[in-house]
């Protein structure tokens, strides 16, 4: 019952490896990985859509496999490698999936995008040239309400066909366009 909240909250010392950085945290034992990432580590790139494991929005990678962070307790993933959307790019160099999603308009409101990017990365790591049906199957647990999924499918296919590009994402915009040449006329 929620009204029993007044009891002392048990806390636990956590050692997590998130995006290659070790972190030590002292958090209530019942907090989910989603809550710890967002609220205790400031990694707000991981989103929440239902917090019941229904929508796929909060997907992160654990040892390269997609997991719903709303259903994972952090103590379950101590000592394992956690990757969030903040860890997908290599510094300012976008993952080919990020580049393809930007170039092809696969992110509209962008809210489901972090989870779908990570689920797609897990797929491509295991199956570098998936068929369209294999992509559909791999992403079937991730809902998107904006795109109709079409541009996402196209973007995963484009990323699977392209080597990791050496393009900068430094200016907050995608790097696929011609360099931002300032000109008149």
């Amino acid at each position: 019952m929620r009204s029993q909240i007044e009891r002392e909250v048990e806390r636990v010392l956590l050692r997590l490896d998130v995006n290659g950085e070790p972190a030590e945290l002292h958090v209530p034992v019942h907090k989910t990985l989603l809550e710890v990432l967002r609220e205790d580590m400031g990694l707000t790139g991981t989103k929440h859509g239902c917090e019941l494991g229904e929508c796929g929005t909060c997907t992160v990678l654990v040892d390269g496999r997609p997991e719903l962070s709303c259903l994972v307790l952090p103590v379950q993933v101590e000592g394992r490698k956690i990757t969030t959307i903040e860890g997908l790019a290599d510094g300012s160099e976008l993952d080919p999936l990020q580049q393809a999603f930007a170039d092809l308009g696969a992110a509209q409101c962008g809210y489901c995008t972090p989870g779908i990017l990570l689920a797609s990365r897990a797929l491509l790591n295991e199956n570098p040239k998936p068929s369209r049906d294999e992509i559909r199957e791999a992403l079937a647990g991730n809902l998107c309400r904006c795109t109709g999924y079409v541009k996402i499918l196209e973007a995963v296919e484009l990323a699977s066909a392209s080597p990791r590009p050496r393009l900068s994402a430094g200016e907050g915009g995608p790097a696929a366009q011609p360099p931002g040449r300032v000109r008149a006329g």
Partner: protein, 771 residues
């Protein structure tokens, strides 16, 4: 043109693919408190008392407020100010907010809500249209409207309807039901407020910064200049974040009381209660036709299940009758509409606002008439298409119209005319139209609907506009237009949008208005800036095309001082001369046509959509990539509404307020979609552009339905088209009963006598207004 018409990435794609976009729930301010709501467990009850004393004693609780703290009523429409942020007299649906707590964390806030004692006198709930039309057992849901639980009645008649029926060779009546459904944005609504030095700031996932601003000023009883509303990065709206909401008002009030920032993010269950989604609509339609299929008259009746409050409902009611004549040239038309209150979450605008339901009925009704007459449905509909540059019988001004070309594209590409029919395979065809922005504002005024300022200094250019990008790409449209005029790339344009302190007005992302209205405002501001820059460059003896933008801006700043320009857009005054004419007029209408190919299994009732061909007249595609995205997203949402999405209730309760049980299409459910962009270059749109975000949803649902008939010979005259309904219709067909599932009758409704309106005179054609 160098930018307009090219496929460029959205200007906010970078932050969105890297997790850096800041949505409302991502905002963390020091000392932020968390807010939770106590909501009604009863669909209909009087509140006898609220005792929050135990809640206030819980350590960590900083404030508890109830209805007495926020007594001022609000509502999106001036005529229906019927909501309170917290109800203290009466609750009208399960989920109606009663009290709110601010505490140091969410769990304590939730525990405090549990500790609030409310005594109720439970009243009989009214849960559907038929019950709402009857005398209530206990009391009415609202104390206005009537008789019984009727909220609004409208009746309009254009031209000689009885004469039109008298001249018909054939008349037909049908009854349809469109089930309600919800937006289901991936992002739950979220808002965070601060109160510093007598000023409130609210960051919210809203589609309508300005309307939230107005509601806050009213309920908080503060001048608008003491309130700042900022639209955070937006995680999806589809119309669901177009009302001012209780949680937006409450976090401001709690911030004012506690002096600390307060955040409220709705749970997924609460999002289903916030709703404002698609109205369930029962419809009756009667049409007269000549032997060749030409329409002579139409009579259309609607009954909308509005839920517990007004929301946009008066407008929704008019919209169920407004756009039928925008696609089909009706010589005479009578519309009678009714909205009722029920004890359910309020309905409002969802993608297509009030028009997908009558579009569903209209397209299927005409399809059935074509079968009656032995005509090809495509050909019969085509004979009735409206023509460009005309006025409809209900005074709506049609300018550009790509209906004919949209139809040709999808019919040719799909092979509709030579399709294989029956034995479980079929194709269906439907068309539609939608507004490019409502021609009248929600509250009556003569001011512009959108304004843009541009600042240039030392090589930098910034555009300021109140427009709220909800993911559809309105920021990218603004950037494209400014870049086009100034000779830049879209990403060279810095944008400040959706902030009531720093941006001029835009009425928000609803009614598909932003590209058309903010686009025209941006175009005016950019042309003025280009003229200043050009004058300065020419005064220096050079040509604009030959100098860098930085040099041009330095020359102009030296010549004119601070470089700022502004543009604004006010829709032309084109509404007809009758009461109720404010709903329907738009500066331009988009047009769509669709063919659906599917397999339907007679044994299981399962439908598998193989492919959707969709053509959309967008006027001009400013960015074809984003237009395709809007069209594909619309088709997807239409498929969901056709086959599975359903906001259903049982014993006063929402049947499935969760994403698992409220079925929406996954990656595995969406068919191949082939999109054709049709450009008609509208005379008043920016570069000829019209809307893309809503219209393409409309034809998908009836096209699916027509295809099911094509495949199995049964009509499912209601949404969603579930396997159970198909199997039942086939069972009836086998028994020799009418081969359909759907409503059998339309209830008697006390519509007032129709206001008779003469059609526009023949010389009142669609002369383009001066922009």
């Amino acid at each position: 043109m160098k930018v307009v018409g090219t496929r460029f990435a959205k200007v906010d794609a970078g932050p969105k693919v890297t997790g850096q976009a800041t949505y409302a729930d991502d905002i963390v301010l020091p000392r932020t408190l968390h807010c939770k709501f106590l909501r009604s467990p009863h669909p209909h009850a009087r509140i006898l008392s609220v005792d929050a004393s135990a809640a206030r004693r819980i350590p960590g609780v900083k404030a508890v407020i109830t209805g007495a703290d926020l007594p001022v009523k609000f509502g999106i429409l001036p005529v229906t100010q019927d909501e309170r942020a917290l109800e203290h007299e009466k609750v009208r649906y399960v989920g109606d907010p009663i009290a709110a707590v601010a505490a140091v964390d969410e769990e304590i806030a939730a525990a405090a809500c549990d500790a609030i004692r409310v005594d109720y006198e439970v009243l009989e709930p009214v849960m559907d249209i038929e019950d709402a039309l009857k005398a209530p057992k206990d009391e009415r849901i609202q104390d206005y409207g009537g008789p019984n639980n009727i909220h609004k009645l409208v009746a309009l008649e254009f031209g000689d309807v009885d004469g039109g029926f008298a001249h018909a060779d054939h008349t037909r009546e049908d009854v349809f039901f469109f089930q309600g459904n919800t937006h289901l944005p991936m992002e739950q609504h979220s808002a965070i407020a601060s109160y510093v030095d007598g000023r409130v700031t609210l960051w919210s996932s809203t589609q309508v910064v300005h309307y939230v601003h107005r509601a806050l000023a009213k309920v908080l009883e503060l001048p608008m200049n003491r309130i700042r509303v900022v639209g955070a990065s937006h995680g999806g709206g589809f119309g669901g974040k177009t009302d001012p909401f209780a949680h937006e008002i409450v976090v401001c009030k709690l911030a004012m009381i506690t002096g600390r920032p307060v955040k409220c993010t709705l749970t997924r269950e609460e999002v289903f209660y916030a709703h404002r989604g698609r109205h369930p609509v029962l419809m009756w339609v009667r049409s007269g036709v000549k032997k060749d299929g030409r329409l002579t008259a139409m009579h259309f009746r609607t009954a909308l299940d509005g839920g517990a409050y007004g929301s946009y409902g008066v407008a929704s009611t008019f919209y169920t009758g407004a756009l039928q004549p925008v696609t089909y040239d009706l010589p005479a038309y009578r519309f009678e509409g009714c909205r009722v209150f029920t004890n359910k979450p309020p309905c409002g605008p969802k993608r297509g606002h009030g028009t997908p339901q009558p579009r569903f009925a209209l397209e299927l009704h005409l399809e059935k008439i074509a079968h009656d007459l032995g005509l090809d449905p495509v050909e019969m509909k085509r004979r009735n298409f409206v023509k460009p540059m005309t006025r409809t019988v209900n005074w709506l001004r049609v300018t550009s119209c790509g209906l004919e070309e949209c139809t040709r594209r999808v019919v040719e590409a799909s092979g509709y005319a030579t399709r294989k029919r029956g034995n479980g395979h079929g194709m269906g065809f439907a068309i539609s139209s939608y507004l490019s922005g409502a021609g009248t504002a929600i509250y009556w005024n003569d001011m512009p609907h959108s304004e843009v300022q541009i600042k240039v200094d030392r090589g930098g250019v910034t555009a300021y506009c109140g427009a709220m990008d909800i993911g559809q790409g309105s920021d990218s449209v603004l950037a494209a237009i400014v870049a086009e005029e100034l000779g830049l790339e879209p990403r060279d344009v810095r944008l400040v949008t959706a902030d009531s302190d720093s941006t001029p007005i835009d009425l928000g992302s609803y009614s598909s208005r932003v590209t058309f209205m903010a686009g025209n405002a941006a175009l005016e501001a950019a042309k003025k800036m280009r003229a200043m820059l050009g004058e300065a460059v020419e005064a220096a003896g050079k040509r604009y095309e030959d100098v860098s933008f930085e040099e041009a801006s330095v020359l102009a700043e030296a010549r004119f001082g601070t470089l700022v320009t502004a543009g604004s857009y006010t829709p032309p005054k084109i509404a007809g001369p009758f009461k109720g004419s404010g709903v329907g007029p738009s500066p331009a209408y988009s047009y769509s046509a669709c063919v659906v190919d599917l397999d339907a299994d007679a044994r299981t009732g399962m439908v598998h959509i193989n492919k959707v061909w969709i053509a959309h007249d967008v006027g001009r595609a400013i960015n074809p990539l984003l237009v395709e995205g809007q069209v594909e997203g619309s088709v997807y949402m239409g498929v969901g509404e056709a086959l599975m999405e359903e906001q259903a209730f049982r014993k006063g309760m929402h049947k499935w307020p969760s994403m698992l049980e409220y079925k929406s299409p996954t990656f595995l459910d969406v068919p191949e979609i082939e999109t054709f962009i049709v450009e008609t270059i509208d005379p008043e749109g920016p570069y000829g552009a019209k809307e893309a975000g809503q219209g393409p949803l409309l034809p998908v649902i009836p096209a699916v339905n027509a295809a099911v008939y094509d495949a199995l010979g049964v009509w499912i005259d209601e949404t969603p088209i579930t396997p159970e309904k198909i199997v039942e219709a086939l069972r009836r067909k086998a028994k020799g009963e009418p081969a359909r599932v759907g409503p059998t009758a339309f209830p008697p409704i006390p519509y007032p006598p129709a206001i008779h309106v003469e059609p526009p005179p023949s010389d009142a054609v669609a002369a383009p207004a001066a922009v």
